[in-house]
Symmetry: C2
Subunit: 271 residues, 2 copies
């Protein structure tokens, strides 16, 4: 079987999240429907991260196995012709058999946008948290840096559900970088890590807001790692400000060489 | 009665257009509901332009008459607190009694966006026409210039309905400027004029596309003014690419001086 990898962007506003749910519009469901139409096979769409309802993606990554002879570019064009405009396939390539969108990922980057203007554009509300009230941005910046490193993020886990990575039950995670920047009228919180617990990024952003409001102090972030108590951290902020920006994988050796990509063609002896 | 003028922006995606229609979500209806709540009066919201379903606005302008003592800034804040996030009041001021959002307007500017990239962002499809096929942009530019000036735009009128300005039956209109520019991956058509017939800007954009595809030649625009036949011009392109950018009015003399804005206060004799 061939293994097809795709980079997918979506506006999550009109979907009940990534994961297939009967009778509800989901990203995974929309992709699976089209993969099945195109291949006449029961295709399973593996995503790198399971985004929640209302969460967006600029660089979600998926893979699926198929016996279809369609070339990656043909898959991409067919998906884009059949998918709703809210989901776009930005790239497609054939990869080695053992490539797995979730388990092969080296790092994922999520971004949370907080709009600080008094009035926000009617074209932006689907993509930001509107918070026009006073915030101590310096304290928030200090706190954001304390998310970096390997910590027990139990205080930032969902109350129910298994978390984005449910194969292990540990709440230990490594955050490679956590940055807060001011860009125009927005505060943008960007985190990069190997994997995240469910709601973890939104709980981190909610905790930063509590720090900004003076309800929590920056060093309290460190105490939260000890407390392992999600009721002591900030709230889970709304989903629409969150976006899965990119997923990183080991470099080009995953790609199947172009020769073998000409699937079905028997080798021709050179004279 | 006091006369309140407001500048309003909206994402028209989720509305059945500007004009109140029973049982349907409209911009005028949403604004009128809130004005009535705030004033306890039967307020009529006058708009500068009646945008169709799916059309957006960055600078729609409205006015309404009221006996309420609320200051313009109080009106603005109350509207923004009660309106859906897809409609925002960007500014409010008290104006002279005879100011009329539609009849006082000197000029309106509309913009139509055509996305030329092969794949468009899932965050942009609500705001552009996606046209990734070949176009002769030089011919379109030539044709766009021929829209400028006073012409009979009967070939660019709606087949039914009375047109945006229905008080007169003439199809004679003056276009102050018509520009086509390339900006990033987009072609942007911007027209400024005193008033427009219903669908006129979308028919103009549709005609430019026919010129770009080589189906019509630029000088044919002039013939269309003579033909007065809407079946000979291009199609009415979809609404989502269209935006009412701004409405211009005579300068500051419309504004009521701050002193008289302190409504209800009796004059105080200076000692």
């Amino acid at each position: 079987m061939r293994n097809i990898k795709m980079t997918v962007a979506y506006d999550g506003s009109d979907f009940s999240g990534w994961q297939i749910q009967p009778g509800k519009p989901t990203i995974q469901g929309a992709l699976a429907d089209i993969a099945r139409k195109l291949t006449q096979e029961k295709v399973f769409i593996q995503g790198a991260g399971r985004t929640d309802a209302g969460v967006h993606a600029l660089g979600q990554t998926i893979n699926f196995k198929t016996n279809s002879a369609l070339l990656p570019l043909e898959f991409q064009r067919a998906f884009n012709a059949l998918l709703p405009a809210s989901i776009r396939v930005l790239g497609a390539e054939e990869v080695e058999r053992d490539f797995h969108a979730r388990w092969s990922a080296l790092a994922k980057t999520y971004r949370y946008r907080i709009a600080r203007e008094r009035i926000i554009s009617p074209f932006e509300w689907r993509y930001v948290l509107h918070y026009p009230y006073p915030l101590d941005e310096d304290a928030m910046l200090q706190a954001a840096r304390l998310f970096e490193g390997q910590h027990d993020f139990a205080s930032f886990a969902a109350s129910t559900g298994s978390g984005e990575e449910d194969a292990d039950r540990t709440t230990l995670r490594e955050v490679y970088s956590a940055e807060l920047v001011r860009q125009g009228g927005e505060l943008i919180f960007t985190v990069r890590g190997k994997s995240f617990l469910r709601y973890m990024v939104r709980k981190m952003a909610g905790t930063l807001l509590e720090v900004g409001r003076g309800k929590l102090s920056p060093p309290f972030i460190r105490e939260l790692y000890e407390l392992k108590d999600r009721s002591r951290s900030g709230p889970t902020v709304p989903p629409q400000g969150l976006c899965l920006v990119s997923v990183e994988y080991p470099a080009a050796w995953w790609k199947v060489p172009a020769a073998s990509a000409a699937a079905g063609e028997p080798p021709v002896k050179l004279r």
